[in-house]
């Protein structure tokens, strides 16, 4: 059933300070509204119980991509189109660009934001695996101040996160330490555009003399949250990439993830595909 539009408030603050004052004075009353590509779908389906939104789309403080010697910092309102157009992201963070390219169609990429993707907190979202593998940090702001935290650990359970009701996600920061690494991103879905992933992997590796000296693995759609698979990483880090060690990593992964059956796929399919993707990643890294 379609929503009754006059029942919804969408206020446009003049500045970020304005927005923070409003959500600070009435915590929980106002929720941010960015590109609307998640919220409008819920509205249309009559499944948007919250009524009061703050239109953060015009806030220039939350836009832009900044590059320093050590980091690339992206405003929360960075769209998928912005990501793909950025030279440094394309050369140093290709998995994020690939995720952006495989998110929705172009019209979605022009409106959907990284901040919205993170806070919408779908375990099937496509950019979070890449952000986890790149050791992203996120900044939360409120009129009490700002705090940076590792993105890993931000999601604590299905659609649960450590953001307080008076906070906004303002920026995402990626350390520029990916130069000599191998990057591996695969989204498995029914079709390339528009489809939500059945399983998604983002992984990076540093291989020296056939030994895996550094490795990070993150998967989507295999747990209540997008998961950095630390046990699997530990199982292969520092080891020579042999059939045995690859198999051990595979078995660790199959214990570490807990996929479910849903409309898009089954638990057993997801388990099998996730394991195959890990093996393919490790074999690609070896060659």
């Amino acid at each position: 059933m379609r929503a009754y539009v006059p029942g919804y408030q969408l206020q446009t603050p003049r500045s970020l300070a304005d927005a923070l004052a409003l959500i600070g004075n009435e915590p929980g009353v106002w929720k941010p509204f960015a590109g609307g590509t998640d919220l409008m779908v819920l509205l249309e389906a009559g499944r948007l119980p919250h009524r009061n939104y703050l239109n953060i789309w015009p806030l220039s403080e939350l836009r832009g991509i900044e590059v320093t010697e050590t980091h690339v910092t992206l405003g929360a309102l960075t769209t998928y189109t912005d990501v793909q157009a950025h030279e440094v992201l394309r050369s140093e963070f290709p998995m994020l660009c690939q995720a952006a390219n495989e998110t929705g169609g172009l019209a979605i990429q022009n409106r959907g934001t990284l901040g919205g993707n993170i806070v919408n907190a779908s375990p099937a979202a496509d950019s979070p695996p890449a952000l986890l593998a790149y050791d992203a940090e996120i900044e939360l702001v409120s009129n009490r101040g700002a705090r940076w935290l590792p993105y890993d650990g931000f999601h604590t359970g299905y659609k649960q996160m450590t953001m307080l009701p008076d906070e906004l996600l303002s920026r995402i920061r990626l350390p520029r330490n990916t130069a000599s690494l191998k990057h591996y991103y695969r989204k498995v879905g029914t079709r390339k555009a528009q489809a939500i992933a059945k399983v998604c992997i983002a992984a990076i590796a540093r291989v020296e003399n056939a030994v895996m000296t550094d490795v990070r693995v993150a998967l989507g759609s295999v747990a209540p949250i997008v998961l950095r698979c630390k046990q699997t990483e530990d199982a292969i880090r520092g080891k020579a990439l042999t059939d045995d060690s690859v198999n051990q990593a595979r078995e660790t992964l199959m214990r570490e993830i807990t996929p479910i059956d849903d409309v898009r796929s089954t638990a057993s399919y997801r388990l099998r595909v996730a394991a195959n993707l890990l093996v393919h990643f490790l074999l690609t890294a070896r060659s």
């Binding site: 409008m40 779908v41 249309e44 239109n55 169609g105 172009l106 019209a107 409106r111």
Partner: protein
């Protein structure tokens, strides 16, 4: 209940001042308040692209844009693609090569194709498929649409 607020924006070069509910969909405001019924509704959830319009130079799904977010913006709908009686090369190609059947997807397809050619005047096959990936058609089987876009590139 919220009250209506005043917004101002341009559609196909013409300025409009309207009283709107802020969460009203741009799609509905275009069709019902401005009577620009060329923009179609297919799915109403961002999947089909029938409601595609250009917003400040980028294509968007107008079913997913609350009208409060277009205050001060400039929009192009299918009604603004031709120059007077002179059809755009993409529109002419759709007519000449059977790119439209029932027509529901056509305005969105044409806007997506026009946008693609503006960004990339010599698209490859893959570029065309990618550029139109957000637009669904239930009639043509896509090949005629694809051919129309290829011909439009050649005829410009």
């Amino acid at each position: 209940m919220t009250s209506k607020t005043a917004i101002e924006f341009k559609v196909n070069g013409e300025s409009h001042k309207l009283e709107v509910f802020p969460m009203a969909r741009l799609l509905d405001v275009l069709r019902e308040q401005l009577h620009l019924t060329g923009t179609k509704e297919g799915c109403g959830e961002g999947e089909c692209g029938a409601c595609t319009v250009k917003l400040d130079g980028q294509i968007v799904n107008s079913c997913l844009v609350p009208v409060a977010q277009v205050n001060g913006s400039s929009i192009t709908t299918i009604e603004g693609v031709a120059q007077g009686d002179q059809l755009h090369a993409v529109q002419q190609a759709f007519i000449d090569h059977g790119g439209a059947q029932c027509g529901i997807c056509t305005p969105g397809m044409i806007l997506a194709a026009v946008d693609l050619l503006e960004r990339n005047p010599e698209p490859t096959e893959a570029d065309i498929r990618n550029g139109l990936a957000g637009n669904l058609c239930r009639c043509t089987g896509y090949m005629k649409i694809f051919e129309s876009v290829v011909r439009a590139c050649q005829n410009r």
